[in-house]
Amino acid sequence: MSLDALNLDLPTLLAIAGMAIVTYATRLGGWLALRRLVLSGRARAALDAVPGAVLAAVIAPAVLATGPAETVAAAITVVAALRLPQLAAVVIGVASVVLLRLAMS
């Protein structure tokens, strides 16, 4: 069976393989390293900051540089997430952006 028949293409397969390999490497890395190396000081603080920093970088253009509807909806989402389960906060955020776009268009 050819790649075409399976609806797969080569750059896509390369991307999935690359993502899978580095992701498994991150899962193994900490486990492999721990017996010999315990991070401390600034190295640990830098690694601690990575998840939040990456998530913030991903959404910053969409939230801060798209328009007022997105920025206000983001603020509403954060307030909702402080009080409600994650899924409810996401639904409220998406509903707010739809209403705000209608109101502001």
Partner: protein, 236 residues
């Protein structure tokens, strides 16, 4: 199979059930958005089965285009999944009594939800392979199935901006950010990252703003390390 093993599997399945249900809409959404970016159902299921990391897959689909920028996607997955290093490190002493093969499988199935549930379990009783692998296996099959179904249905969905689905990515990550909040230090890292990301996004073609922001945030985290941690390093 001993009754002890069965009991561990049962406890694991019950513990993971809420997470397995909560992830369904996210799986459907990821699959639908992936389909709109040109990914096929087998490609979506292959990615879910081999990468098995929700936030990295959401980001990957968000920046996906044809042909796939595989180097950029790989580097982005590495940055987003850097947190696994700490999670795996914290699991290491708790799964030390597992065999090597079992450990490799347990770590493959380690996602935020199973990691947290097993950490919680380990405070009360020793982790067993049955407990760790049952919940990992359930979430793995669950994730492949719902993202695959989402991709199959996604081609029927039309323009996601009409019903605000394009904002689901920012909304999901904002709620995850709220969950990561650990005080002003987190705020400094997030602010540094967001500012650098916006500047790079406006000036550099392509999604490199993610790497730039992530590195800026990590540097800010190091600069504003709590004084006890910085002192620990100075004393070494």
């Amino acid at each position: 199979m001993t009754s002890r093993t069965l009991e561990e599997m049962r406890a694991s399945a019950i513990a993971v059930l809420p997470a397995a249900v909560a992830v369904i809409p996210f799986g459907l959404l990821l699959g639908a958005l992936a389909a709109q970016k040109g990914l096929s159902v087998p490609e979506m299921m292959l990615m879910s089965a081999t990468v098995f990391a929700g936030s990295a897959q959401f980001v990957a689909v968000d920046i996906w285009r044809e042909p796939a920028p595989w180097l950029l996607l790989t580097f982005t997955a590495l940055l987003i999944n850097a947190r696994h290093l700490l999670m795996g490190a914290s699991w290491a002493p708790k799964i030390r009594h597992f065999g090597t093969g079992t450990s490799l499988l347990a770590l493959f199935s380690m996602v935020d939800e199973t990691w947290a549930l097993c950490e919680q379990r380990a405070t009360r009783r020793p982790l067993t392979p049955a407990y760790v692998l049952t919940m990992g296996g359930i979430l793995w099959v669950n994730w492949i199935a719902w993202t695959g179904l989402g991709a199959a249905l996604g081609s029927l969905m039309g323009d996601p901006a009409v019903y605000g689905a394009d904002f689901a990515f920012p909304a999901i990550f904002l709620t995850l950010l709220v969950g990561l909040w650990q005080g002003p230090r987190t705020g400094v890292a997030i602010a540094a990252s967001a500012i650098v990301a916006v500047i790079v996004h406006m000036n550099v073609e392509g999604p490199w703003f993610i790497a730039a922001g992530g590195i800026a945030g990590a540097l800010a985290g190091a600069v504003f390390a709590p004084s006890d941690e910085a002192a620990a390093e100075g004393g070494e």
